[in-house]
């Protein structure tokens, strides 16, 4: 099979178009494909819809930079570092439109997308305003077998899924080290038309063959493979590194102020020309060893 190995700028420019719906692996402060997110901002993508289970700093940046104009997801927060203020502001001013789903409704929409079904049902959400709010995608329907009504969740097929992994081979087979699986790897990339994988390292397939039980995504669904060490920074990527508290705190501190937030983005997103330059601006070797330290995941 041909190698899918490429650079992050090539992967994003080839596979993400303005207006696309982009599924973003993320769980508050966990495992976001941040190198890909920064590239979306650098390339000034516009009009993206972003699908998240629980979005964090990535959604805050994409809102601030004007990359996204809609969100499909269950929550957005940086947990201990507070609400995402730029996302909040963008939603409150009407610049970002939210399609809010519960976790089972999002899973059902993506599950239907993956399996080429018109919808999958859930029993969640019954009685909430979230159904009334979203008639295009959620409908209370009768159970054809005579049970109580369920909520039909319309299929969602993202244009692209962005995921970060421990290691991947050049064909795109994705493998995780022994750890928890990220909450969304189970469905996001399977529902999407295209998949871009960034990974801590690209390894020969022979390495994956030693532990095929840890391969969670087959190469045939993957379109591009990029090696990006610390590609999830400042979110955590256990067992490799923990979330960067200092970085999150620094962003939370400036994020309410337009000028200071722009300076932060200039320094950490727009100026660095490579992952090495990004890591250096974020604290370099001292930061990396701190995040891998015994406090680490």
């Amino acid at each position: 099979m041909d190698s899918k190995v490429t650079t992050i700028d090539e992967a994003i420019s080839t596979h993400v178009q303005h207006g696309d719906v982009v599924a973003l692996q993320n769980m508050a402060t966990q495992a976001a494909p941040m190198a890909a997110v920064r590239e979306l901002i650098r390339q000034e993508k516009r009009g993206l819809g972003v699908v998240v289970l629980v979005g964090g700093i990535a959604v805050d940046w994409l809102s601030f930079a004007g990359v996204m104009d809609r969100l499909i997801g269950a929550a957005v927060t940086m947990e201990q570092f507070g609400l995402c203020q730029r996302y909040r502001k963008a939603v409150e001013s009407g610049r970002v439109r939210v399609e809010e789903l519960s976790e089972t409704a999002l899973n059902a929409r993506l599950g239907a997308g993956a399996r080429n079904l018109p919808y999958l049902p859930t029993r969640g959400l019954i009685g909430t305003d979230l159904i009334r709010q979203n008639p295009d995608n959620l409908r209370l329907v009768e159970d054809p077998f005579g049970g109580p009504a369920v909520v039909a969740c319309r299929a969602l097929v993202p244009d692209v899924a962005l995921v970060h992994a421990h290691r991947v081979d050049p064909e795109g087979n994705v493998q995780y080290k022994p750890t928890t699986l990220w909450p969304d790897i189970g469905i996001f990339p399977k529902a999407a038309r295209k998949v871009i994988v960034t990974a801590e390292e690209i390894v020969p397939s022979d390495i994956l063959r030693r532990s095929p039980d840890r391969t969670v995504l087959p190469g045939f669904v993957v379109d591009a493979v990029v090696e990006v060490p610390y590609g999830a920074h400042p979110t955590s990527f256990f067992p490799e590194y923990r979330y960067d508290s200092d970085f999150h705190l620094a962003w939370a501190k400036v994020s309410r102020d337009d000028g200071a937030a722009q300076d932060f983005l200039d320094k950490h997103v727009l100026s660095p020309r490579s992952q090495a330059e990004y890591l250096s601006a974020a604290g370099g070797a001292a930061m990396m060893s701190r995040l891998r330290g015994e406090e680490g995941a």
Binding site: M27, A28, T29, Q30, L53, V54, G73, A74, A75, V76, T77, E79, Q80, L83, Y87, R88, V91, E92, S93, G94, R97, V98, E100, L101, S102, E103, T104, A105, N107, L110, G111, T122, R123, G124, L125, I126, G127, T128, D129, L130, Q133, P148, A149, T179, T180, L181, P183, D184, I185, G186, I187, S236, F238, P239, R242, Y243, S245, A297
Partner: protein
């Protein structure tokens, strides 16, 4: 908050009282899971497991089964919390297979920005216009599911006020008893909110009307204090007991073993 005039020397703080009360809802044979920013539930589960409910099964962050963290870490949605687990559950493929099933994970302990007189919860938006809200809240996450899946819901609220306990939520992100009475049951929903533990009181729901009711007042807090801090008319019984206080042993476990770094205090606004 009020009630300070009555305050005298005591061996615990209000966060510890709330943890003690929350822990009493969880027993051997239950399975409990916590979400993000959930220090009080995590402390309560750990306390229950160290005292009256060693057989309480805990699924940390809906991810790590039966973990053994050394102490409560700075996040309740990161790997430090689920260290030394016996199993990892993946959210899509695994967790909801158990949680959507009425047999497992029957109790859920959660916070909400707004809670109304019938126990409906709002974590979505403040304001009338969903697409131009006054405040965009984090979102319903798994709560919108838990409210409709027959779970018994236990809410905590560290800042009992007319802003967080409102007559009608701006938006129902999780079903409580809806308009009260049989409305929830008529939709085919079982379970529902059981209690609300605040920094002033423990509240529950009157069985017929499903209106929120004062169950006990914390020591030093008067019924008038609670009335003034609630945005609607609570059902108030003639006899309002004092909330059971934590034992010396519970307080010691919370301070020395479970949460020596005081993460549980993060949610409380300085008064």
């Amino acid at each position: 908050m009020s009630g300070k005039a009555h305050q005298d020397a005591r061996h615990y703080t209000v966060d510890e009282l709330m943890i003690s009360v929350l822990s009493s809802f969880f027993e051997d044979g239950d399975q409990a899971c916590n979400g993000m920013a959930s220090f009080l539930p995590v402390c309560a589960f750990m306390l229950a497991r160290l005292t009256h409910a060693p057989g309480l099964v805990w699924l940390a962050s809906a991810t790590g089964l039966e973990p053994r963290p050394a102490k409560v870490p700075a996040s309740t949605l990161e790997s430090e919390l689920w260290s030394d687990s016996v199993m990892y559950m993946e959210q899509y493929g695994d967790f909801w297979n158990y949680a959507m099933n009425g047999r497992w994970l029957q109790k859920f302990c959660v916070g909400a920005a707004q809670l109304d007189m019938y126990g409906n919860a709002n974590n979505s938006v403040i304001g009338a216009d969903f697409h131009a809200p006054k405040v965009r809240l984090p979102g319903t996450a798994g709560l919108g599911d838990m409210g409709s899946l027959g779970k018994l819901l236990y809410y905590w609220n560290p800042n009992h006020s007319p802003r967080s306990l409102v007559e009608k939520v701006d938006f129902v992100s999780a079903a409580g008893y809806l308009g009260g009475g049989d409305e929830r049951e008529d939709l085919g929903l079982t379970g529902g909110p059981q209690a609300v533990v605040t920094n002033l009181a423990v509240l529950d729901f009157e069985p017929e009307s499903k209106r929120m009711r004062l169950r006990s007042a914390h020591r030093g807090v008067t019924v008038d204090d609670i009335r003034a801090a609630t945005g609607f008319e609570l059902v108030i019984p003639t006899d309002v007991p004092t909330t059971p206080e934590p034992t010396d042993d519970q307080v010691r476990l919370i301070r020395e073993v479970i949460d020596p770094d005081g993460m549980r205090k993060r949610e409380f606004r300085a008064s």
